[in-house]
């Protein structure tokens, strides 16, 4: 394992300190417990939005703290949900008096720790609502699993809920729009190579030189199937089909097409994937009206990509277009 780190135990501490040093105009950082809030938090009269989860998915979530998106991000250890303490502290730090929304990716650990924090915050008199993101169609949503996972679609939920909060929507409305985005967004990913969790020091799984994992999770959890390497277009077809079938997206729909890199994928490859995905959607009569391409929900140095499709309407489009100023997503100001 070769990584640009010091003691593996200090990866999150030191990265957060670096983030603070790099973006003093955008954020303030609490080091104990660890959380990141926007520089002007709490914003009086605005719904606060808190997200978080294990580290290793950067820029998710810290890179999305700032005006028009998250009020706070709570990074746990690498790939491990944060405990309730920092979530509670972050919730208190961003409470502008009109309630706080928790955006939580659907993993048992995240759900349980955010749940405890929400209970504690409620006991402190803060009105907390939670929206669970579960956009990953690789996993069956059945009684026999922990449910679909929250993956790259989370970025879209955070952006759009953030815009709703920024324009002054109340807690119910912000929670409703976040829920709506989650209901209209679907994702699926592919891994070409594994990632190495710093404290583990070894790859989280192995793939032969000619194998890829279809439906990979963002913590290196195995996906739907392990297959032989294929050309990019065939892989795109394979992971896009379950997305389009799931909602179901239909001819005439307008969508946001988001191609996400898993951290170690060259940008040329992301655009090759985008090209094919746009082609397939066009063939189905689905119009791509908004786009996002890049490393936004990563799995450390994993090579691979995920595709996310969000069905848009005028409201969601306007909220997507609304100004945002964070370290990783910025426009309109």
């Amino acid at each position: 394992m070769k990584k640009l780190i010091n003691d593996p135990k200090n990866v999150v501490n030191e990265a957060v300190a670096g983030f603070e040093a790099a973006h003093p105009d955008l954020v303030r950082v609490s080091h104990d417990p660890i959380y990141i809030v926007r520089a002007d938090a709490p914003v009086k009269g605005k719904v606060g939005i808190v997200s978080g989860g294990g580290s290793g998915h950067e820029p998710l979530h810290g890179g999305f703290v700032g005006s028009g998106m998250l009020d706070a991000a709570v990074p746990g250890p690498v790939f491990t949900s944060p405990t309730p303490d920092p979530i509670l502290a972050a919730t208190q730090a961003v409470d502008g008096g009109v309630g706080v929304l928790h955006i939580v990716k659907n993993y048992t650990g995240d759900v349980l720790n955010f749940e405890t924090a929400a209970d504690l915050a409620a006991a402190e008199g803060i009105d907390v609502r939670s929206v669970i993101v579960d956009d990953d169609v690789a996993v069956k949503d059945s009684l026999y699993t922990a449910g679909r996972r929250g993956v790259a679609g989370t970025v879209l939920v955070e952006k759009i809920a953030g815009a709703a909060a920024e324009r002054g929507d109340d807690l119910d409305a912000v929670a409703a729009v976040a829920t709506k985005v989650n209901s209209q967004v679907r994702s699926m990913g592919v891994a070409l190579t594994p990632c190495v969790v710093p404290h583990a020091g070894e790859p989280s799984f192995t793939l032969a030189d000619d194998e890829i994992e279809i439906g990979i999770g963002i913590h290196g959890e195995p996906g739907r199937e392990r297959i032989r390497m294929e050309p990019a277009d065939a892989i795109v077809d394979r992971i896009l089909a379950p997305i389009i079938d799931d909602i179901p997206f239909a001819s005439g729909d307008s969508v946001l097409l988001f191609v996400n890199g898993m951290g170690g994928t060259p940008q040329v490859e992301l655009y090759i994937v985008f090209r094919r995905a746009a082609e397939v959607l066009a063939e189905k009569g689905i119009t791509v009206t908004r786009t996002l391409v890049g490393n936004f929900t990563t799995s450390l140095e994993m090579q691979g990509a995920s595709i996310t499709v969000l069905k848009l309407d005028d409201e969601l489009t306007a909220l997507w277009d609304a100004p945002v100023h964070t370290a990783a997503l910025r426009w309109g100001k």
Partner: protein, 212 residues
């Protein structure tokens, strides 16, 4: 011979040791069917517990010690295991109340409450391939031993044996809760890391009660 706070602290210290010794093994199990952090999470948590133990007042009850474990695990472990184990120890603490010593019935109540806490938070059933599959057989074995008039030491030994067997018995299962549930059939053949750490903790309880 009923068990007192000294036993609980011995149990905690032994737990810290065995979790640390099994850190890599638990990481490996979790890497196979999860995300490879269970050993790291548990080790971080028990290291914190063992540091916190110094702050325990000399006249603390077993319940006080268990509550300290609970709150420390909740605020240091994270992941799924943090809230689950945290709730387990919290409910165990409540179950033993302020009793200064724990007899066989109290031990069974402690174990039952712990298991119920895990089920309450995690909603897993037996056979879902989770830590519940170590705890439920342990509780059942403890009840049987207690009804048969066994000593506290024997009750805990029965629980530990059953937990270990339960952990092994997760191997052929398909998971229906936690990360391993994403794997479907591919989880077959792998032991659940949380069931394994549960077996380690219950063995530590038995060994320290036996004075080993």
């Amino acid at each position: 011979m009923a068990l007192d706070t000294a036993w609980v602290t011995a149990w905690i210290n032994r737990s810290t040791e065995v979790i640390s010794e099994n850190r890599v093994a638990l990481i490996t199990l979790d890497r196979d069917i999860g995300d490879g952090d269970h050993g790291e999470n548990m080790d971080r948590g028990f290291q914190a517990v063992s540091t916190k133990l110094d702050t325990l007042s000399p006249d603390a009850t077993p319940g006080d010690a268990l509550k300290l474990v609970a709150t420390t695990l909740i605020s240091t472990v994270g992941g799924a295991a943090g809230p689950l184990y945290g709730t387990a120890y919290l409910k165990a603490a409540a179950a033993v109340g302020s009793a200064p010593e724990l007899d066989g019935a109290a031990i069974v109540a402690l174990l039952t409450a712990a298991r119920d806490g895990i089920v309450l938070r995690g909603k897993a059933e037996s056979g879902d391939k989770t830590m519940v599959d170590a705890w439920t057989p342990a509780v059942e074995a403890a009840e049987i031993a207690q009804q048969a008039g066994s000593s506290e030491v024997e009750i805990l030994a029965a629980a530990a044996d059953a937990a270990e067997a339960g952990a092994v018995a997760t191997e052929p299962l398909v998971a229906r809760k936690g990360r391993a549930s994403y794997l479907g059939e591919r989880a077959i053949g792998h032991r659940d890391p949380g069931a394994q750490s549960s077996a380690l903790l219950l063995r530590a309880a038995a060994d320290t009660a036996a004075g080993e």
